[in-house]
Symmetry: C2
Subunit: 337 residues, 2 copies
Amino acid sequence: MKTKKILLAHGAGGKLSHDLVHRLFLPYFDNDLLRQMDDSAVFSSEKAGRLAFTTDSFVVKPLFFPGGDIGRLAICGTVNDLAMAGAKPLGLSAAFIIEEGFPEETLEKILQSMQEAAREAQVKIVTGDTKVVEKGAAEGLFITTAGVGIVPEGVEIQSRKARPGDRIILSGFIGEHEVAVLIARGEFSIKGEVKSDCAPLNGLVEMMLETVPELHSLRDPTRGGMATVLWEIANASGVGMVAREELIPVKSEVRGVCELLGFDPYFLANEGKLIAICPEGAADRLVLRMRSHPLGKDAVIIGQVSGENPGRVLLQTRIGGHRILEPLSGEQFPRIC
Amino acid sequence: MKTKKILLAHGAGGKLSHDLVHRLFLPYFDNDLLRQMDDSAVFSSEKAGRLAFTTDSFVVKPLFFPGGDIGRLAICGTVNDLAMAGAKPLGLSAAFIIEEGFPEETLEKILQSMQEAAREAQVKIVTGDTKVVEKGAAEGLFITTAGVGIVPEGVEIQSRKARPGDRIILSGFIGEHEVAVLIARGEFSIKGEVKSDCAPLNGLVEMMLETVPELHSLRDPTRGGMATVLWEIANASGVGMVAREELIPVKSEVRGVCELLGFDPYFLANEGKLIAICPEGAADRLVLRMRSHPLGKDAVIIGQVSGENPGRVLLQTRIGGHRILEPLSGEQFPRIC
């Protein structure tokens, strides 16, 4: 049987476009809003409130890697960006840029994976777009998702709200997503069992906000990793950050790959982890609650916010020294997220 | 002076990413929400209501064409999709996929053009993303915008609401965008003075809804053109459409290019036109009001909705015959929008 491929005509807005959407996309994403196929999805927001709005393009290579694929990433990435504002997702959009000749079967696998991730996150894809570009004009597939969410009353999470004395909480082990993709790229001829941590964090965040609605800051350490996120919070808030190296959870497989290649796990991308800046008095309670959630079971306080050295992230090393973590100017290795 | 180029490192989330955003993007898109640089923009929606949400990827080639560029298109396209739901835009997102080596100067021109279009539409870009892919992995630049808007109370515009007797209103001349891009591609060695009609329609729609809040359907005939949009409304509403060829405004330059190449103007993409399905009794009033707006000055009733031939679009030709307009299966020529 010949493999069906995506044609330029599938993106031209005619019958083949209609057919592609109805045959491939709707079966996976079906819901009342999407089915109307109008230019915008229109939905009710039950009460007046603050909206969160975010977007991300996904260009990961390879498209499939242990623990996930570009589709799972596109859903989790945007759900997580909403969650980092404390927002409950109202709906997602998904825009596909597909290279002419892309196998339909592969697209379908990715759609299926998006459906599964959306179910896990309990979110719907309410609107979308498909463009097909000429062979060679894009490398396979890019997905851009956007999300709208509602921020519950009383929740006011911002990167600029970290205060001296606040505790820095990390939800689990770091570096797995980037190492998994790195191994899947096959460029370094290393092998390993590391799986991406790619997961939707909105359930965990909802539970955290039930426990500590006054949480100060939340960020998911994706591109640039933990070090960059701490640096950004430190700079947005005009505070210093002090983290203790021995408290930061890094799995031995990740550590091994880092040692082999000379990389630093603190700069590796994660797709299912978060960093919370929490008032001191509530931090222990919050960590305990987080540990009752599968995605927070390894949650730990890794350090605290300081009034000294504003804009700096200090790492207290195992041997008792200090190291300043600054964002890299570029990248450690080929970009993967 | 050497031309500055976008590097892979600009997309890695480190200092160079930070620098690119602060040096290039923020000066053009600056506003309170974007400046916070958190993962989501959070803004108030003054009262409870219905939200409209839409997205589109823009992959136009060439990036610049008479009357616009990919940046203007990305703003207008999403503003117009919101407007077609009767929604007033609350904010836009913009996600950039940039090929390594792309000239910074060109990017800056495009950002400037986005800024201008956003001003015309009175909308802000409140959140965004930038990814840089390896040379050859994308053709220059793709932009994906999404938009959130609020639908005023009493407005209920849907493609499935066309009723027999309703009038079909077209806001102006058709085919200009696609012909302008086609000429700019230089593949057909034709020359011409045709400019893209690319424009934000939200102001016109706001005025239309003041006059006729009970408007039934609104669509902007982009990919697939007027014929495809009429066919989609006919099918969503289970009605027929009858349009009179002699009433449909097509400029002679557009007609000339169509005749030369054997294309049909009814299938050509527009980026600043709309089709409104309006209750019979309000149609003349609506057209008069539209003509007082620069983007509706050539508005005209081109036909009406019929109870016969559901799902069909009939064109009454100049010579008194009938022609059925069906969406093309693919495209008339290389995709351009």
